[in-house]
Each structure stands twice: as C-alpha cells, then as structure tokens.
Amino acid sequence: MDPGLAGQYLLNGLMLGVIYAMVAVGFTLFFGVLDVIKFSHGDVVMAGAFVGLATFIGLRDLGIVSSLALLLAVSTAALISMALLGALIARFLVLPLRTAPPLNTLLVTLMLGLALREAVRLFYPNGSNPKPFPRLLPAEAYSFGSFTLRLDSALLLATGLLAIVLVHLLINKTRLGLAIRAVAQDPETAKVMGIDFERVVMITFAIGSALAALAGITNGLYYNEINFGMGLLLGVIGFSAAVVGGLGNIYGAIIGGFLFAGLQTVGAVWFSVPAYKDVFAFAAVILLMAWKPTGLIAEKSAERV
C-alpha cells in the first residue's frame, strides 16, 4: 500500500478515534466516580449536536454571518447546556438511586436516553429527517499524492485531543481533580475529609456531558449531517471502548476509543463487503474482553473492601 493511502486511512481512523475517545472518557468518568454506567450518554452527544444546530439556525436568522462567531456560539451553547443536563441527571436520577441496586441506575439512564432521542425526533421541527449541519470551519484541503489533509479535519482532531488532555490535567493536577479522585477512591473518607460529595459528583457529570456535547459538535462538523438516532451506536461504541480500555481509567478510555476506530478501519479495508466492519470490530472487542476481563488497563483501585 502506498504511504499516502496508508496515511489517509490513519487520518480517517484518528478522526473516528477522537470522537469515540471523547464519548468513552465520559463513561469512564461516571464509572470512576460513582461506579455507575450511564447509558443515556450517547443521546447526550446527539442532544448536544442538536442544541448546536438550533443555536446556529437562530443566530443565522438574526443575521450573524461570521463563521468564527457562529462556531464559538454553537460550541458554547452546546457545551453549557449539556453540562447542565449532565449535572441535572446526576442530581435527580443518579444520586437518589445511589443506595439502590446498580441495575436500577442502568435502567433509568437507558430510559432517559430513549426519552431524549424520541423528544428530538418528535419536537425538533422535522426531527425524524437527517439534518444538514453547517460547515463552519475553513475548508482548505492540502493534497500530497493520494493523501488529502483537510484543515477542518485537522482542527477537529486537534480540538478533540486538546479537550481530552485538558480533562486529564483537570483530574490529575487541580484541587477539583483531587476531590474527584478522592471521591472515586473512597467516598466515605472523602466526605469525612470535608469534600462536598454531591457537588463533586455533579461536577464530574457536567464535565463528562460537556465532553459529549463537544463530540456531538465534532461529529456534526466532520460529517455535516446529524440525525436523532446518531447517539445510539456512538453510545454503544463509546461504552465498549471504555470497557475494553478498563472502566474507570482515562488512559484506558482513550486507548479503547482509538483501538475501536482502528478495528473498524482495518475491517473496512480487509473485507470486500465493508458492512462487516462493525461485526469485525465488536467481535474483536469480545475476544479482548475474554482475554483481559478488567480491560487493557485495569483500574488501580480494583480491589474494594
């Protein structure tokens, strides 16, 4: 295979990987801090994209034409609204169920995802049709032989990686991060030490959901098309990526996200019928889980007494 082409596959895979990783990091944050699996996460991605689109349409109708201003407004609106939604989900759905069996949380968030999805389908104007998402990034493309690098893809990739790095720094280098890690390791002791448990959980959910909104906007800007059902598969893939990497570990989620994207790309290149690529990727995930049930990077505090 000529290097230009290999590079192109690599770039496609990286783009997919960064979207998956952003979703997977959310799953892993929620699991890390509360040991819950929040299945509505994929639909939060979708809701974020739709909030972005609605903001764009509103501002465009007000006569704003600057791509940069629109882009900033779209991202801000999506990130803030989804962060709020995440905090609300934590406050009213997840925290009250803390003492209930974990299955209940799983079920409640699964239902919430369905409600979000159907709400967009029914209440967004013509919500059941695919919606064109605006091109707000510069569209210059640079070709080197059979390799084409688009400026917008490069920017999206950089933004996604930057966001993940920022979350990582936030968790590992700040006082807030210290509180989150303390709650993750031992909620009771953390409370004794004067950490506001509920607040930390809500903030963690807000961070994860804002990251999901960013994934949704990235998805929209990359494909220029969004639809109400896009969160479903993204959620499943994000969750698989987080589990493969080792739930509760941010590095694991990132590795899992890129691994899954890599598997899909390899699947699409190998098989004469590319429709098999998802089957291939999920089958590989099953094998990986059989080999390493705790994920590629096991959570450090795996043993709980």
Binding site: Q8, A141, S146, Y223, E225, Q264
Partner: protein
C-alpha cells in the same frame, strides 16, 4: 302556470339531487408510506398526492361515493410495514391500498395483502421482485422497476464515454437489486466495475470505503441506495477530494437530497421511470391542483405515481362497487388506462409496463431533465477525474 310547474320541477330535482348527495356511502382506501425517518420527504409527498386524488373526487358531485383515506406510516422498516399492512388489510372497510415507497417494506408485505385478499397498488418501490417474485393477484404497481432504469442508466452512461465504475450499494434487497441489475447491464455495454462495496443502510462514516475507492480511481461512483446515506457519501467524497461523477438511482431523486447537500449536489445524475410530472399531459393539472391545496411539502418524485394509483383504485371502485374481489379483478384487467403518469397497462403480474425512463441531472439546485440541461448542450461538463 307552466312557469310555476317548471320551477316546482327544478325545486324537486334539486331536492332529490341533494338527497342523493347526503346519502353517499363512505368508502375507505389506505395509503401506506414512510412518513417518518430518513426518506419521509418522499412518503409525505406521496401521501399528499394520494390525498389530493381523494379530495378532488370528493369534490366531484357526480361521484357516487364519499372516499376516506386512511394514512399509515411504515417508517421504511419492513417490521413496521408488516404491522401497519396487517392493520389495514384486517379492516374489511378498507377496499384497497396505495402502498409503499421502500422496496424492502413492499417485499415484506405482499404476503399480508395476499392472505387478506386486499388489492394494492405500489406507488414507489422499484425492486422487480415486488411484482415478479410471486403470483399474487392482489399486488399491482404503477411505477416501473429497477430493471428498466438500470438498463437505461448503463446505456446512457457508457454513451457518455465513461468506462470505469465503482459501485456502492446498501445491503438491503433494494441496494443489492440495484447492484445486480446495473452490474449486468454495465457489462453488456462494455463498462468496467473496479470494485463493489456493500454498506449498511444507516452507516455514518464512509471514509474508509471512500479512501479505498479513491485509490481505484473510478470515473463514476454508482450508488444504489436511498437519500440519507446518499447525502453522506456524496459529502464525504468531497471531503476526501474524490472528483468522480456521482450517479444515483431513483432512490435519491428527491428534494431532500438537494437540500441535504446544497451546492455539492450539482452534476449528480439519477434515473427514474416515468416522465416528470410537468412533461405529462395531465401533469400540469396535477401540479396546479397540488399547489392549490397548499401542502407544506412538495409532491417529490413519486407523488404523481401515488396520485395515479389512488385514481386507478377510485375508478375501479366506481365501476364495480366497493368490493375487494371485484376491485381486484377490475385492476387486473387494466389496459391502456390514461393516467397522469402516462398510459397504464398491467401485465400478468400486475406490473405496469412503462417503457419510459427519464434521466436527471442536478443543475442549480434542481433535478433537471437531462435533455433540458446545460450539461446535454455542452455548456457545463460533468466532472472528469
């Protein structure tokens, strides 16, 4: 005195006339199509057109019945389609149906209509098997099949001196059918297929497939599938810098395709059976009436077929009465029926033998008939990689 008698006569006649009008029997007809989901634009256009046929007939004082259209949504999903088809067919008050845009759904429901003995006319699905894979007398179709459109497509495209194709098709019966017939016809006309890619019907990311395709350097990318992923593929082609011509099938001839792509739709080709409504004898009438009713959505590519199908059913009911068996017999005997999509003649399988296929190219954000386009006159050129 005579005058008074005449007046009284007129009065009585009017009273009798209105008496008949008030006692009109209500006859139910079903419309089934995708009203939600990715191809709902076509479904809504079809529904409005079928409803238009009913409204016009109800406004006609000469019509002996009052018609009621029962509208059902198949969501372009076979499982939902079978549910709603059963619902319609089990209701004995429904005499006949104008059914299905999606081939996979039309295929799944033929058994239902046969079991319940409900005559239907398919208004949009193009898979040949919908009419040809069985001997059910209940199933008819006003639009042509994908056999006709792919034959014309292969002949026309090779005539434009294109030689190298890549085929992308969805892995439903619909996409596979298009792949089969187009590949066969293309081979017969001397075109080469460099690669064939089956993709899932709700796939989001096509970059891996398109990167592979870019390496194959086709002149034309043939797409056998429906609007939503057609939009995604065309848009992602552009992002990867693939300059090939995008050739679709009747499945992408919709305004939603152009709306979803904007300027990127320019120069996309597609083929559909039947002439465009505005070119047909009754087409102008249809479009005028459609405008008058102020529907929020356009009739789309297959609206005229849904209108013609509803009219065929209504005509049959008026001739033999509201009885499923008799209506079915009447429909099966349809020969040289003048409709707004041209002459309708059903063969043994209830298939309309429309010989006409129209070639479309997108020019300035509109599906334009090829012969009328600036591409045909050489003013604009299709992309050559």
């Amino acid at each position: 005195m005579y005058r008074l008698a005449a007046l009284a006569l007129v009065f009585f006649a009017a009273a009798a006339g209105s008496g008949i009008a008030a006692a009109k029997e209500t006859v139910k007809i079903a419309f089934i199509g995708p009203l939600t989901g990715g191809v709902s634009a076509n479904g809504l256009g079809g529904r409005n057109s079928a409803e238009l046929a009913v409204r016009l007939r109800n406004a006609d004082p000469k019509s002996p019945y009052e018609y009621e259209l029962m509208v059902l949504d198949d969501e372009c999903k076979p499982n939902i389609g079978v549910q709603v088809a059963t619902k319609a067919a089990a209701d004995r008050k429904i005499i006949a149906g104008v059914t299905h845009y999606c081939s996979a759904v039309a295929m799944g429901t033929v058994d239902v209509y046969h079991r319940f003995g409900m005559p239907v006319i398919v208004w949009g699905a193009v898979l040949p098997d919908v009419t040809y894979a069985h001997d059910y007398k209940e199933i008819h179709r006003v639009n042509g099949t994908m056999i006709n459109q792919n034959e014309v497509a292969a002949q026309f495209m090779t005539g434009l001196k294109f030689k190298k194709w890549v085929i992308i098709h969805d892995t439903t019966d619909y996409g596979k059918g298009h792949n089969k017939y187009f590949s066969e016809d293309l081979a017969a006309h001397g075109g080469t297929v460099l690669g064939t890619f089956g993709v899932t019907a709700d796939q989001q990311d096509f970059n891996a497939e398109l990167t592979k395709i870019k390496e194959l350097r086709p002149e034309v990318i043939y797409f056998g599938g429906l609007t939503p992923i057609g939009v995604r593929i065309r848009s992602q082609m552009d992002k990867l810098g693939i300059k090939a011509v995008f050739q679709g099938t009747s499945g992408i001839v919709s305004d939603a395709f152009i709306e979803g792509l904007g300027p990127l739709a320019e120069g996309v080709l597609a083929f559909r059976e039947g002439a465009p409504a505005e070119k047909l004898p009754g087409g102008k009438f249809f479009l005028e009436q459609y405008q008058k009713q102020k529907y929020p959505d356009p009739p789309e590519a297959y609206g005229a077929f849904a209108f013609a199908a509803a009219n065929l059913i209504i005509d049959a009911i008026e001739k033999v009465g509201p009885d499923r068996r008799k209506v079915m017999g009447e429909l099966n005997a349809t020969r040289d029926h003048q409709s707004i999509v041209g002459t309708v003649t059903f063969d043994d399988h209830g298939q309309n033998m429309v010989p006409l296929i129209t070639k479309f190219v997108v020019q300035d954000g509109r599906w334009t008939v090829w012969e009328d386009s600036e591409y045909a006159r050489g003013k604009r050129k299709l992309a050559k990689p």
